[in-house]
Assembly symmetry: C2
Homo-oligomer: 518 residues x 2
């Protein structure tokens, strides 16, 4: 059975002919808002403003049973080899990012998972010793993370989100782009004498990262600083970057942890523990671990990431909406959507299923977004009145991080922020009729809200894992391999050919044509 | 005649049944790459990798003539009232952002445009005097811009893009979100004693901005600093913020300058001239002005923003692609796409035409993107192999801003950056056949490249105006009003009701339902 042949898919197709009309009187009501929600781990998922009724909902849960997703989620966390395409050459690996935070009371017992967790714990302990030594000397105030893609986006998103919890006097910076201006502008901002540099590349061979590392080594030497006293590597054991003669320390990752799922491993761990302290990093892991357990232990109807995945499938495959806007009503999460762009689009932007067959349905949507309320003053015009419907995933917090607020005209800023969030979900759903066509809002723009108390390291861990598992669940339902990224190879190969042309080597007529325009 | 009834539209509909197949042998060739480009003002627009042939191209130019867009562009710059919806209540105004940079040799002579340019020049001169005084005293090192939407995104994008050209020791910061954590984290970063604050709101009534201003005034007072010595306003004459008893200075804007088109007015001018010096700001204006003249004086076939608009229309209305990814291969432009999101989506995300009739075609697409090469390690998997085709607009520069680069393995970073850009456009267009379905790339993903020498203030001005006019041209072709934003009102009204609930006032059952969940 595949996605298109499940009985539930066929039922959902029929139901989608007449999706719930949220603009009708007595559809979006007080009681619907209070009823259409699930609650776990301190999160509420509110979905009264999605175009689903009880019938659609129960059929979506049937779909999740047809696709057997809770079993698959458990198997993933047990280390079953799910990163594979049947019948063709593929990565053929386990997917064990959850092992990087599996060191709390309740642990996976399957041998592969246990082994991966033990290895991860060993790196964690190594890191704790390293950080204690570093901070005892007190010689480093800043850290620069050099990496790209998963070695940049997730760590950057979390470091930014948790700035409120940084130890005083510690700062993190990121260099990712091969654009030389990226390196220079960061290097101009720090005092390299007091700066640690963590270079992250699983293969030890990422073009952008090696180029930027060379750039920094050059700069250190020009300042008569010893690179070996400043540069740490995070890489695979035995990679060219696993070299004690060149690095102050090396921390390991493994091929069963995909870059976009690597935030809680050493890829994010070095920088997070530098700015938050080990205890802050530990809280992130604890938050993520709780969501990991929830993802396969909670039953369908109470499962946060699963319900979000199913509502996403409804919008994507049955209402045929091509994008998803993820809008945190929190400035601290300003880089979180960029991380989710990778996590979701690189995982599920696929054209074949895990049997190598071309899919005949839509897979991963385009993920985009900026924080609210900012977006309201930017692209919300199009969301309210444009011709392409955009489903929204809001993220909201009951209280602010700093707890420092001021009443202006009887309400605090945090209350104004929440008021805007709730108002948008209502306005988008119910719309507005008017004699002036320019003041007409068609409504029926679906949205849901993930609401929790406030954004601290533990909550951030939960939120991170919530999205990782939402993405995995959607992949399980579509029957695709969410864990490889063959689609990035062709560009790399052709870029290599053009780099050769710049170096005066090789032949590539199309590339030469572009070079002749410079 | 409207978009759907133009003869050219019907022809294009027919042509779109069999769009050019870029994956076929001898389609994307060396000579096509060299030929399919136009060049002006130091920019090259390369479009060999769009799905257009000569026939489509000439019909697109017919379309631009059917819609008489060059005349409309000139009329806009002359001050003709084009921000209106025929037959219903609407803003009914001129659209004169171009007047804010119309003080060079060649100026518009139409009375309204001339008057607007004279007023803008007066503010420019006021600003020059003010900045000289400020910097003579040398008492201010930092500036915080407080504003949201157009009063934030454009100024922030340009300030970030031109960091390389900031005067040493001068820094700009931005507070936009009503999220109290946004203010606090910025205020914790600066020494308020040495900081200017520029509060920007045309109406003087923007909720977020007034709230943040109150927050800052409170903080200044607690530090025994006089707000009147620190806070400048940029606002409409006679607004509540035009008040010499409360502000160190006030600079004016007018209702014929939309927020999303206001970067070159005092909205961006104060912060840009603070960090770049007046001469830097002047260069931005000069760049934009050159593109303004080009936009209505260059004929169709040589018109940069028009050709980009037409290719966009082809992708949106004839190939039915719902989004556009704008990908600058330049880290300095990291916030430029967020500005373009507003500029484009708020302008053209409309459901009625300028006669108040519901449109029966697609208007403005979803605009999104992150800088390259970063995106390659993130969402490009989906772009290469996903099920929804994403057209791309690349922006590239021949040299870096800092001119500080290092050869690693025979090539510089800037060469690697350009190699990746060109490689992506080729890979996306031509694809790759393979026996392994996971290594198959369907190709036919359209893209174009805007290429220029390097990113300095003048180029930034040109680039800004290029996109402003691309958006305006698309609006002219669709026959919609690109200059109002009624779609943001409903959310505001409902937010006001929920804010009242927080203050213990009023009634709004749906709002109360949400509040009961807190």
């Amino acid at each position: 059975m595949t996605f298109l042949t499940y009985r539930s898919t066929k039922k959902l197709n029929k139901l989608s002919q007449h999706p719930l009309d949220l603009t009708k009187k007595n559809v979006v009501t007080k009681s619907r808002i209070k009823k259409m929600k699930i609650e776990a781990l301190g999160f509420q998922l509110l979905y009264a403003t999605e175009r689903v009724d009880e019938k659609v909902l129960s059929t979506l849960f049937e779909l999740s049973k047809d696709a057997d997703v809770l079993r698959k989620m458990k198997e993933m966390q047990e280390g079953v080899i799910i990163n594979r395409i049947e019948g063709v050459e593929s990565e053929n690996r386990s997917v064990l990012h959850t092992a990087t935070r599996d060191f709390f009371e309740e642990r996976m017992t399957a041998p592969l998972a246990k082994k991966a967790a033990d290895l991860a714990k060993k790196e964690y302990d190594k890191l704790a010793v390293f950080m204690e030594k570093i901070h005892k000397n007190g010689s480093y105030t800043d850290i620069i993370q050099v990496g790209i893609g998963g070695s940049d986006l997730g760590p950057r998103a979390l470091t930014t989100a948790l700035e409120r919890f940084h130890k005083p006097g510690r700062k993190a910076h990121f260099i990712s782009n091969v654009d030389p201006d990226d390196s220079i502008s960061v290097l101009n901002r720090v005092d390299l004498k007091k700066t640690l540099i963590v270079v992250v590349s699983k293969s030890g061979e990422t073009l952008e990262t090696l180029t930027n590392e060379a750039f920094i080594r050059d700069r250190l030497k020009k300042m008569s600083l010893d690179p070996k006293k400043h540069i740490i590597s995070v890489t695979g054991k035995g990679s060219p970057m696993d070299d004690p003669s060149r690095y102050l320390a090396s921390f390991y990752i493994w091929d069963y942890i995909g870059g976009r799922y690597s935030v809680t491993s050493m890829v994010g761990g070095v920088t997070l523990s530098f700015v938050l302290g080990m205890e802050g990093y530990h809280k992130v892991l604890w938050g993520a671990h709780q969501m990991d357990r929830h993802a396969f232990m909670a039953k369908e109807e109470e499962n946060l990431p699963l319900l979000s995945a199913l509502l996403g499938i409804w919008n994507r495959n049955f209402l045929h909406l091509p994008t998803v806007a993820i809008i945190p009503y929190s400035q601290a999460l300003s880089r979180f959507t960029a991380h989710l762009q990778q996590c979701d689009m690189e995982s599920n932007g696929k054209h074949i299923d895990s049997f190598g067959k071309e899919v005949e349905f839509e897979t991963g949507p385009i993920i985009w977004g900026e924080p609210g309320t900012n977006g309201q003053h930017s692209f919300y015009q199009m969301i309210h009145q444009g011709t392409t419907t955009v489903p929204l995933e809001f993220i909201g917090f009951k209280t602010s991080q700093f707890g420092c607020d001021l009443k202006v005209k009887e309400t605090t800023s945090q209350q104004k922020l929440l008021a805007n969030l709730f108002a948008q979900s209502i306005a988008l759903a119910v719309g507005q009729k008017s004699d002036n066509p320019n003041k007409t809002f068609y409504g029926n723009r679906p949205s849901r809200i993930l609401l929790t108390s406030h954004l601290d390291p533990e909550t951030m861990g939960k939120l991170l894992a919530f999205y990782e598992h939402k993405v995995a669940f959607q992949g399980f339902i579509w029957g695709i391999n969410s864990f490889d990224q063959e689609g990035v190879q062709l560009g790399k190969v052709l870029a290599g050919k053009i780099i050769d042309l710049f170096a005066g080597k090789g032949e590539f007529p199309l590339g030469s044509a572009y070079l002749s325009l410079l």
